[in-house]
Amino acid sequence: MASAGNKSINAKLVLLGDVGAGKSSLVLRFVKDQFVEFQESTIGAAFFSQTLAVNDATVKFEIWDTAGQERYHSLAPMYYRGAAAAIIVFDITNQVSFERAKKWVQELQAQGNPNMVMALAGNKADLLDARKVTPEEAEIYAQENSLFFMETSAKTATNVKDIFYEIAKRLPRVQPAENPTGVVLPNGPGATAVSSSCCA
């Protein structure tokens, strides 16, 4: 983009995935550069924000971290509605969590914002000995479904910033600059993709 450096984008991002896949840990690493071995379960949802500078813009991520249990599934639309981006997280040591990730992808494809940037994160990549999901398997799935895939480790910080950076690069650049607070925009096709909107 032409106007380098002075474009400011607000992007609502939601993390979805199975219980214990490491959603909160990824956020904690990204936002606070911390890691807790026994990160407590997320009740309801948590909200964070973090700003990232990419080549031509400053992206302020407004991050929704959700509870993973299927029981709380009915709350999820409240959080992914209007999201410009999603990270679907699975645990590479847990095949079930990969299957669950696929269900989330399906749901977002059906219900989410059509312009949503979706990333698939194979987390706990440091636990190679316990691996159950191969990177090839995940990569093929990602390509078939127009996602991009990365293996991450919140524990070692591998690829954590990178996955957010990749998302930032892929976000549409059409948001008007005069919307710094992320208020709801008129339903222009591009505008909704990058603005946070109210989730009530």
Partner: protein, 674 residues
């Protein structure tokens, strides 16, 4: 306690003034129709007005009040005010007959009344404060059935009332026997001068500045300084709203010069009120300043909004875009009615006194009251929690409880055996079991692991937690395991120690809170709905704010309610809160009032910073660890009492933790769910 909605909606109190100007108004007629002589009065005393259910609070605690009857009588063309408490009726046994006679107001002539302060918030708890010429302020008279405006309108038909220029909620009583006053008040000239602007700026540290304002009357100066030293006045920085309010006064009030000068003697309701508190409350003054500083700590922002300015604006119903609308209950909270201070935790000896010789709890309500106001010493919790949770019935003897424990221990072993007997081969064909176990395994290792009892590798207590949760998911297979349950179990296991006892306490708790984990989220929705109703009742400006910002689903309180603040307080504080909630002493739903209390505490920040849903959720989540428990419980208690029946009516029947209404299918199932 009931509200007279139509009256409360009428925030323009010009009607009051108009009523005093007009003869034969509706209230006058009503008053006439009630004219009759009371045998207890002087023979020639004429009953002008009578109002039942007018109460005072002898302490600042909302739970203690004395109800009585307010009367206006007229004799020899002098109006008298009296308030007689009802005999043998009080909200609290501790209030003695002596208290009642102490506060009785017997026939005070209006010639000796200097002013009446009126407080008519948008929600309930209207009151008036009558200040005598001597400076004596009577305790606030609470009109539990409303009707303050009517009362004032009737007073105005008999004595001259002038709106104070300093505080529109103060009405100065002018005695028509005084020729000077009659002359001055008959002029009825609009005030041509703004009230001395010097008074609109007060030093932030209170104190004696008022003496420096060149007041001509030394008497006034003395009084002001003697009153202000109590330091109760809220800080008043120069505030544009004040200028606005003065402007409004010019517009609406017909204030004579005399009245205005009189007003300066009383200009600060906080001053007068403070002295009144001190006089009748028998509370050391420092408790108030402590309280103020305590509040100031967390809501310094709010405190900068002087009550009188806000009240003025509200009373005049002026829409303003200035900033945070006043908390309708703030004045009460600051200066009068609070929940009781926390008592020391109940110890063993005290608990034993609640038991008869065979170990039955004789008066469960007294026990619950004791726990409500002070909690339980940690060592004793394992004896008392099973009662509070409903695992032990209160009327069991020592022996019966011992027997119950042994029976339940065997029953627990049987239940536990059900999943322990599942072989690896069977487990392969038992997806639900595997999934549940996997979920529980994931959660127990990350539940309170920083807490000593659960820390370290291969911690046996973590294993116990897993076993209990897995057993529960078989005991209540329909509900199963849900995230948040381990948060509930953790303190219970820590307190009870024993696995079987912990299990049955957990079972008892889930009888009430299980619906929090229903698949359809119905239990949570009901509570969030009730919460929104309570906020609407107890803080309508805040409710309106949430409404305007699409926050009425109250999902930002989801975590608070789902696990009853487990993540918001440190471990010990959580236990203290839970045992208070479990008493169900004032309400089964005190936790919802706790939510309201916390939201109100931060209302200025929420509204002032114009938080949207995202910001609000972030803010609420980050409050964790920063909420003072004791004052929150006290606020919740006061709010609960304040809300009274209206509060109870806001909470739909069957709202958890009330027991479910329908004892049929407890946990409706859906296909394809864990």
């Amino acid at each position: 306690m009931s509200m007279e909605a139509s009256e409360l909606q009428d925030l323009s109190d010009d009607a009051d003034y108009a009523a005093s100007q007009q003869q034969g108004s509706a209230s006058m007629m009503r008053c006439d129709s009630s004219k009759r002589s009371s045998p207890s009065e002087h023979e020639d005393a004429e009953l002008i007005y009578l109002k039942d259910n007018v109460a005072i609070h002898p302490t600042q605690f909302a739970s203690e009040r004395i109800s009585g009857r307010l009367k206006l009588t007229k004799q020899d063309s002098i109006l008298f005010l009296s308030w007689i408490p009802y005999k043998g009726q009080s909200s609290n046994a501790k209030l003695s007959e002596k208290d009642r006679s102490l506060y009785t107001i017997t026939a005070v002539p209006f010639t000796e009344v200097r002013s009446i302060k009126r407080h008519t918030p948008a929600f309930g708890w209207q009151y008036v404060i009558v200040v005598q010429s001597s400076g004596l302020a009577h305790p606030p008279l609470y009109f539990y059935n409303g009707g303050v405006r009517e009362f004032l309108a009737i007073v105005k038909q008999h004595v001259f009332l002038a709106r104070s220029a300093e505080d529109a909620s103060v009405f100065l009583v002018n005695d028509f026997q005084s020729p000077l006053q009659r002359t001055l008040s008959s002029l009825e000239l609009p005030s041509s001068l703004p009230v001395a602007s010097g008074q609109s700026t007060y030093p932030s540290d209170g104190g004696s500045l008022n003496e420096n304002q060149g007041r001509t009357s030394s008497d006034v100066g003395n009084r002001v300084s003697s009153l202000s030293q109590y330091g109760l006045r809220k800080h008043k920085s120069h505030d544009p709203t004040r200028d606005l309010s003065i402007h409004l006064l010019e517009k609406f009030s017909l204030v004579t010069k005399f009245a205005r000068e009189t007003t300066t003697q009383l200009f600060s309701e906080n001053n007068g009120f403070g002295s009144a508190d001190r006089r009748w409350n028998n509370q050391p003054v420092h408790s108030y300043s402590d309280k103020l500083s305590n509040i100031a700590e967390e809501k310094h922002h709010e405190i900068s909004h002087s009550y009188s300015e806000n009240d003025l604006l509200k009373d005049e119903d002026i829409s303003n875009d200035i900033d945070v609308p006043a908390d309708p209950l703030e004045f009460n909270k600051l200066s009068l009615v609070w929940g009781k201070p926390r008592q020391p935790q109940m110890g063993s000896k005290e608990f034993t006194a609640f038991l008869d010789s065979e170990g039955r709890v004789v008066e469960s309500k007294a026990l619950r009251e004791r726990v409500f106001y002070g909690g339980i010493e940690h060592q004793l919790r394992r004896e008392v929690w099973p009662f509070l949770l409903g695992y032990y019935a209160y009327d069991l003897t020592y022996a019966e409880r011992e027997y119950l424990r042994s029976v339940k221990r065997m029953e627990y072993a049987t239940l536990k055996q059900q999943w322990q007997s599942i072989s690896p081969e069977q487990a392969k064909r038992f997806t639900k079991y595997r999934e549940r176990k996997g979920l529980i395994d994931k959660d127990v290792v990350r539940t309170d692991r920083a807490f000593e009892y659960y820390e370290g590798d291969d911690n046996l207590n973590v294993n116990s937690m897993r076993d209990i949760l897995l057993t529960y998911s078989f005991y209540n297979f329909d509900l199963g395991y849900c995230q948040g349950m381990s948060d509930y179990l953790s303190p219970i296991l820590f307190v009870m120690g024993d696995e079987s006892e912990s299990f049955w306490c957990f079972v008892a708790l889930m009888e009430r809170l299980g619906p929090n984990f229903n698949r359809d989220q119905n239990g949570m929705h009901t509570q969030l709905f009730a919460l929104s109703k309570l906020v609407e009742l107890l803080d309508s400006p805040l409710h309106n704010y949430f409404k305007q910002n699409d926050c009425l689903n109250y999902f930002f309180c989801f975590r608070w309610i789902l696990i009853q603040f487990k993540r918001e307080f440190e471990y010990e504080k959580t236990m203290q809160l839970w045992e208070v909630l479990w008493t169900h002493y004032l309400s089964e739903h005190l936790h919802l009032y706790v939510c309201v209390a916390i939201l109100k505490r931060f209302r200025s920040k929420i509204i002032g910073e114009q938080m949207d849903f995202d910001t609000l959720l972030k803010f609420i989540n980050e409050l964790s660890g920063h909420i003072d428990l004791d004052s929150t419980i006290r606020d919740a208690e006061a709010l609960c009492i304040c809300a009274g029946e209206n509060g109870a009516a806001s909470i739909p029947p069957g709202t958890p933790p009330s027991l479910p209404l329908d004892e049929g299918i407890l946990y409706p199932q859906e296909d394809d769910v864990l």
